[in-house]
């Protein structure tokens, strides 16, 4: 096993279906994931995240470009790549007629783990996902969030060197999401590498060492969450619920974004007092919070991550 955990160069994917127009899902994606990193792929629906993950995990052929996992070409040496990876597929579900314990254990056995090792890792994964009290219930009786936790438990139990997680915490409550984050952090401490896609910007912020923002099949920006947030032009965000009409008074303080009647302004801390004075004089209510990835995403992509 050599090389970076993952490296893609000018990766393109064009879907061609008879009787339908071509769809370019990836338009020359170049990126790398170093060993032991947690990297997030962010993007709106249809940006190309899942296509990238499917190609990287040997489940889809690229149209052109190269992609390597631990130095092996994913397209040519898929059989060599597969033992090093594990995938939480988007919208994947555990077998409804298996219990979480059976699901995790049998999956590990199918990957070639011995009985004892599979049993130990199963219990560990169930514990880390908070699934002990549901471990012997058939998955069909579990909630959507519990099923998703079972899927994540199944894959993290492999402790594979490279894990691909496509929207791993979708449908989970905030507590369960944090349990997943802790488990993923533990895994990378043990040496695994993680590439995940997510719609939750707070998740990408809390979890990723680096992130890539993908839009219409292109990587449009990469860096750490802090770098991206700094690029917004200030570290504070002032929200004024009815401030859209007064936007001209605030333009000199920093970037102003209106959304209906609401106004938000990105501002440096040293100018906050001055801005608040203006708001008070205009009899506007303002709240202050830190700049989040949401602002960074909006600035870079020009649209919110949830916008279709």
């Amino acid at each position: 096993m050599s090389g970076e955990a993952l490296r893609s160069v000018q990766l393109r994917k064009v879907y061609r279906t008879k009787g339908a127009p071509e769809v370019t899902a990836l338009s020359g994606v170049t990126m790398e994931v170093r060993r032991g990193e947690r990297v997030a792929l962010l993007g709106r629906n249809g940006a190309g995240k899942t296509t990238f993950l499917k190609i990287a995990s040997t489940l889809l052929r690229p149209t052109s470009g190269t992609i390597e996992v631990f130095g092996y070409d994913v397209d040519r040496d898929a059989d060599r790549v597969r033992p090093y990876i594990a995938v939480v597929p988007q919208e994947g579900k555990p077998f409804f007629h298996l219990t979480p314990r059976e699901q995790v254990y049998t999956y590990l056995r199918a990957r070639g783990l011995g009985r004892e090792s599979a049993r130990d890792r199963t219990e560990e994964a169930l514990r880390s996902m908070g699934l002990e009290s549901f471990a012997n219930r058939l998955a069909i009786t579990l909630s959507g969030g519990q099923r998703q936790r079972t899927m994540v438990a199944t894959v993290i139990a492999t402790q594979a060197p490279l894990l691909f997680l496509d929207e791993p915490t979708i449908g989970m409550d905030p507590f369960a999401r944090r349990e997943v984050w802790s488990s993923l952090r533990r895994l990378t401490e043990l040496g695994s590498t993680i590439l995940l896609t997510t719609h939750y910007l707070d998740e990408a912020d809390a979890l990723s060492d680096r992130l890539y923002i993908v839009e219409r099949g292109h990587v449009i920006v990469s860096g750490t969450a802090d770098e991206l947030k700094r690029s917004v032009g200030g570290s504070l965000k002032v929200s004024i619920p009815n401030g859209a009409g007064a936007v001209d008074r605030f333009r000199s303080f920093g970037e102003c974004v209106t959304d209906g009647s609401a106004l938000s302004i990105i501002v440096h801390p040293e100018r906050l007092g001055e801005l608040m004075d203006v708001a008070v004089r205009a009899q506007l209510t303002a709240t202050v919070g830190p700049v989040t990835l949401e602002e960074a995403f909006l600035r870079v992509v020009g649209r919110s991550i949830d916008e279709e």
């Binding site: 096993m1 060993r35 499917k54 995990s57 040997t58 489940l59 889809l60 052929r61 898929a78 059989d79 060599r80 597969r82 033992p83 090093y84 990876i85 594990a86 995938v87 939480v88 597929p89 988007q90 919208e91 994947g92 579900k93 555990p94 077998f95 409804f96 007629h97 298996l98 059976e102 049998t106 999956y107 056995r109 199918a110 990957r111 070639g112 783990l113 058939l138 899927m151 199944t154 894959v155 492999t158 402790q159 594979a160 060197p161 691909f164 043990l190 040496g191």
Partner: protein, 253 residues
């Protein structure tokens, strides 16, 4: 970096473990198991009412038909777990080989559904009655029919993107191959002009060979060659194709 799971990918790697997974999955579906012999049971009752003298033929046919439907279940199961559960993505982006995934699934289904078929087979052995060599022939033919059906089922399953579309096709599949041709009734009752067609269909070819063995049907040497050769070639070719197809369809294009 810690060592990964078994690193070298061998043919059929993970077969036993995935077979066991499928056994566990299927064994929880008590209703499907309980209703697995309904069609065969109804057809046996029809034959018994219409011509009790043919019940031995029908029992032998029920064994072969059951093995065929077990294989055909692969069509539904493979499509269902791929489309609804993304199980193929979960399992095949890993060291489990595609051929082990296909064969493990097919064999797991067979293991779970085998018990009632064995009972029908035992009944056939008593009612016909079957000599030991005929029992061995029935076992061999049942295996060949299962290989053909499981292979066809897996190959076809990869063509579907919607589970609802499969119901119609799976029903068509077992009615055309299993109910219509002479599986539950003697080949001699089937229009002579169409005999070559049914002798090329795995369940009816196997049934014709069993009927010949127990003295119910006579086959010309050409028909015998067609049935035996057809089954041998079909089982081998379909199995190889299913393995190749399983490997080929891991990755979308």
């Amino acid at each position: 970096m810690k060592s990964s799971d078994a690193l070298a990918s061998r043919p059929f790697q993970g077969l036993r473990a995935f077979l066991w997974t499928e056994v566990l999955v299927q064994a929880h579906e008590e209703l499907a198991m309980a209703t697995s012999m309904v069609v065969q049971g109804v057809l046996l009752v029809f034959v018994w009412i219409l011509n009790p003298g043919l019940i031995g033929v029908a029992l032998v046919g029920a064994v072969l038909f059951s093995m065929f439907t077990m294989g055909a279940r692969v069509l539904n199961e493979a499509a269902y777990i791929r489309i609804d559960h993304k199980a193929s993505d979960l399992y095949l982006a890993g060291p489990l080989t595609p051929e082990a995934y296909f064969l493990g699934m097919a064999t797991g289904i067979m293991v779970v559904y085998l018990a009632p078929v064995a009972i029908v087979g035992a009944l056939a052995a008593v009612v016909v009655p079957l000599a030991p060599v005929e029992v061995l022939l029935l076992l061999a033919l049942a295996g060949v029919v299962w290989v053909c059906a499981a292979s066809i089922g897996y190959i076809f399953s990869t063509a579907f993107h919607d589970n609802r579309a499969i119901w119609a096709y799976s029903s068509l599949f077992f009615n055309i191959f299993g109910v219509l041709p002479p599986v539950f009734y003697p080949l001699g009752l089937f229009p002579a002009a169409l005999r070559p067609v049914v002798l090329l269909m795995p369940p009816s070819a196997a049934a014709a060979l069993m009927q010949r063995a127990i003295g119910v049907t006579t086959l010309s040497s050409g028909e015998l060659a067609l049935a035996v050769g057809g089954l041998a070639v079909e089982a081998t070719a379909l199995f190889v194709l299913a393995v190749v197809w399983a490997r080929r369809t891991v990755r979308g294009r």
